[in-house]
Symmetry: C2
Subunit: 553 residues, 2 copies
Amino acid sequence: MAQLRVVRAPRGNQLTCKSWQTEAAYRMIQNNLDPEVAERPQDLVVYGGRGQAARNWEAFEAILECLRELENDETLLVQSGKPVAIFKTHPDAPRVLIANSNLVPHWATQKHFDELVAKGLMMFGQMTAGSWIYIGTQGILQGTYETLAAVARKRGWPSLKGKFVLTAGLGGMGGAQPLAITMNEGVGLIVEVDPARARRRLEIGYVDEVVNDLEEAMVRVEECLDKGIPRSIGLIANAADIYPELVIRGITPDVVTDQTPAHDVLMYIPSGLSVEEAAVLRTTDPAEYEHRAMASMARHVQAMLEFQRRGAEVFDYGNNLRQRAYDAGVKDAFNFPGFVPAYIRPLFCEGKGPFRWVALSGDPEDIYRTDEAIMELFPEDEHLHRWLRMAREKVPFQGLPARICWLGYGERAKAGLKFNEMVAQGILKAPIVIGRDHLDAGSVASPNRETEGMRDGSDAISDWPILNALVNTAAGATWVAFHHGGGVGIGFSQHAGMVVVADGTPEAARRLERVLTADPGMGIVRHADAGYPEAIAAARRHGLRIPMLKETP
Amino acid sequence: MAQLRVVRAPRGNQLTCKSWQTEAAYRMIQNNLDPEVAERPQDLVVYGGRGQAARNWEAFEAILECLRELENDETLLVQSGKPVAIFKTHPDAPRVLIANSNLVPHWATQKHFDELVAKGLMMFGQMTAGSWIYIGTQGILQGTYETLAAVARKRGWPSLKGKFVLTAGLGGMGGAQPLAITMNEGVGLIVEVDPARARRRLEIGYVDEVVNDLEEAMVRVEECLDKGIPRSIGLIANAADIYPELVIRGITPDVVTDQTPAHDVLMYIPSGLSVEEAAVLRTTDPAEYEHRAMASMARHVQAMLEFQRRGAEVFDYGNNLRQRAYDAGVKDAFNFPGFVPAYIRPLFCEGKGPFRWVALSGDPEDIYRTDEAIMELFPEDEHLHRWLRMAREKVPFQGLPARICWLGYGERAKAGLKFNEMVAQGILKAPIVIGRDHLDAGSVASPNRETEGMRDGSDAISDWPILNALVNTAAGATWVAFHHGGGVGIGFSQHAGMVVVADGTPEAARRLERVLTADPGMGIVRHADAGYPEAIAAARRHGLRIPMLKETP
Ligand SMILES: NC(=O)c1ccc[n+]([C@@H]2O[C@H](COP(=O)([O-])OP(=O)(O)OC[C@H]3O[C@@H](n4cnc5c(N)ncnc54)[C@H](O)[C@@H]3O)[C@@H](O)[C@H]2O)c1
Ligand SMILES: NC(=O)c1ccc[n+]([C@@H]2O[C@H](COP(=O)([O-])OP(=O)(O)OC[C@H]3O[C@@H](n4cnc5c(N)ncnc54)[C@H](O)[C@@H]3O)[C@@H](O)[C@H]2O)c1
């Protein structure tokens, strides 16, 4: 039974396919389904609830077969995880073109999508699941690390050293917070209501210690702050109790955020209930549950607003907590910002985003060498160096060894060319695959998150990700994908992915330079067009060609 | 004032830009705004209500400037009619990439779109307006000619010779019907309530004669049928009276359709009212108007259903007439089919669609030579020959001389290569631009029209047009566009356009072969995937590479 097969990408420098371009796709789709990488490989689900690598096992096998046979002037077309055609193109064209989960807007509902999935006509591609460049949880950790680093930068702090970060939630994504805080040298107090969740994070070394008592927690926090030691402390308690209690005690953290599951009212544990009690109430009286959860979220946000008034850096981490509090009567809930407009967008304005790469050799040494190369390329970037050091120490590889770090316009092309050189010189044992998340500067339209509150109101304009997919295709990416619904669900986003292979040839060098220039370049262009002064300055600094660029928008 | 300038494409074989690739785009965007071509050139509106060529005059001038400067390894990006960036690509990449009117689905409403247009952030691109390959009304005439030819083919008739076609409406699009009927050698009776509209069509030679009386009209019809003479007769009357009257008289036409404006209830003239009386009632008592119009449309459709029962070929021409009658109580209104599933889709299954080309020289002789070349390439295709002969005789050029005819998979590449050869040999005075409407076999998702009622229910899946835009980019089209909302309005369609230039070089020949193979190939692939036996057979016959193609879907 194909369903029971365990998938793992081939390693080493022997080709199964006819070139490293196709070999890269061949290994990466399999790597996405490696049990170390995928959430539910038996269902072809890579991550993000139902983000799949292929429509079904038959389609998966057919894709592999196509890739094994594909010539260097041919292109495979994949429609929602199913290979549908091979056409003759040319060597500088992508080897694979992917369109996942796209629906004509009027019909772009979860319901219609689910019907089409049930008929076997579509699949949900999420972002890097259906475009074959997921690298495991390192991405979430790095994103959180970048966000917290941007918080420090905004405040003019060299890092979070000596700073107290208060947050909550040690779940699937929130669990990256303690490690991201200590990687930024800060002291974190993370409130988690579920002891089991906290314990798991302690076991894998993401959180340094777990306590049951606020008193005890604050003693440890103060100690570490005094000594300037990075430390993360998990506190088993409810955020809706602890945040207000700290307000009463007159304690003001330097940074306050939260990753409780406020996006789902029935998942947020109301004050006064244990996890087990909450589970009971959720089924016996959901209306009462909702009522209590909303009241708790209101108190939770009121405390955050008070921290903000007292000078703390407070932000929403994309879980809809402000909206809940607002609906529960906290009319100034939106006084603190969401994390994208506050910290990520300034990075996007520089073309900075999630640059990631994978060693096709399967040898961790290859990644360590690229880590060193990046440090040499950007010797001044202390923040980057810290991440790379900590990542090597703390982040176990999942599947093929991989690395992620945020690089900007210019830097990405530089790094890509360097890797290609290292492959050519035999410093690396096999080619390197370079890609990124779809959540990047110029590749996504997602008005509830990445393009929320754009300066000119252009949040919903998706000409931008389409141009991104087209220009990456024109520039010679190895594969290009265009998806709908990633991150925020069917109807709510459109986004493009790209992957380009450094196989050590001069042709690859030319493609890398073009793709890794145009792709982040789109980020600067998109934000300059929206009137962000940082982007306009970046465009001028880098000499980007934006025909109608205005000095003052 | 730029707004008052009259735009006309340069002619001749002198370059203003740096290559014929960019020169082609340069001339075609200007040709779209030629007063002979555009509906409202002063507003940059080409056709289709508000389909624009550029966002505003400033953007238009900036596009021209970019095209004049663009090198052969650079690509210009256009976002909803505004040039936003130039990136380095390579000679085989498109010179221009265009995304028009695209919105994230949840926000894809006319209202939000209009707000963004008002803010100067978007424009409506229709199909060939914003992608610079509109050629005037020849396209509508040819589409109608093809539809009627397909009707004959379906019935097993060599043409409409000796056949009686009953239809109604001589408006903007419907006015092409009489000429399309006679081009197919049939006898047409076209019922039009507005004498002024009928007169205009008589003046430009689209309709052969106009009469006021059914008696007189039927005498002429019978005469011409007897003699086998092609003839079109306009009858000033209301279709809601004439269709039922013919039923009563026991007269059954061979073909029955209709192009009254049933899509807009307040535009369909109710029985018993003159155009002037209707105009009054429309403003004084719209509810009463609507009531009467609905009743008239019900009678209109009841007569069509009776013609069908008596053996006539009856179809809806995409004006929503069946829905109106259904809403007015005619429960079997949908017993006769829409024109796309009935006649156009079988063509799409063969990769057949609207192939068009333009002579950049501006010399009509160039088009006549290509006409001859097409006739020589396809000597057996009598239907095609008839169209080309009649087109030359009856269709005045608008702007740069252009031609359209429907060609299938294989034929398009053959024609493109032939034109390129003719340019190389100096038979033509300048290069030829080859393009098509977005309404083609593999380039559109539009569930209310082109992809209505797909065999597998995949009407709304827009992975297909996205793959079409990507593969045309990969194959080396000269420009590629991706639009939203064309034909049926914001929210209701997504579609891709492509243009490729035959400049006589061997590189162009390779690009032409790739693009003109992959592009119609997508049509076969899309329909084979949906399970159409004709498409599966075409795929096998042409040796298309469809990895998971099943014999029986
Ligand atoms: N890119 C982004 O915008 C982004 C990034 C990260 C997280 N998020 C959001 O953050 C939220 C958390 O994501 P996750 O995957 O970690 O969710 P999850 O459900 O896996 O974990 C939530 C955790 O919060 C705990 N919790 C629930 N109620 C609590 C309370 N009142 N006090 C303290 N702890 C409580 C739960 O026990 C659980 O461990 C989601 O809403 C997610 O959408 C968004
Ligand atoms: N691709 C397609 O699906 C397609 C192609 C062609 C036309 N159409 C549809 O056909 C319809 C006509 O298009 P148009 O651009 O010609 O519209 P139009 O408004 O320009 O012309 C409609 C004509 O019908 C006449 N008319 C109105 N009521 C009448 C009646 N009761 N009896 C006789 N004549 C009457 C009007 O006087 C007018 O001349 C539209 O609904 C259009 O959407 C669709």
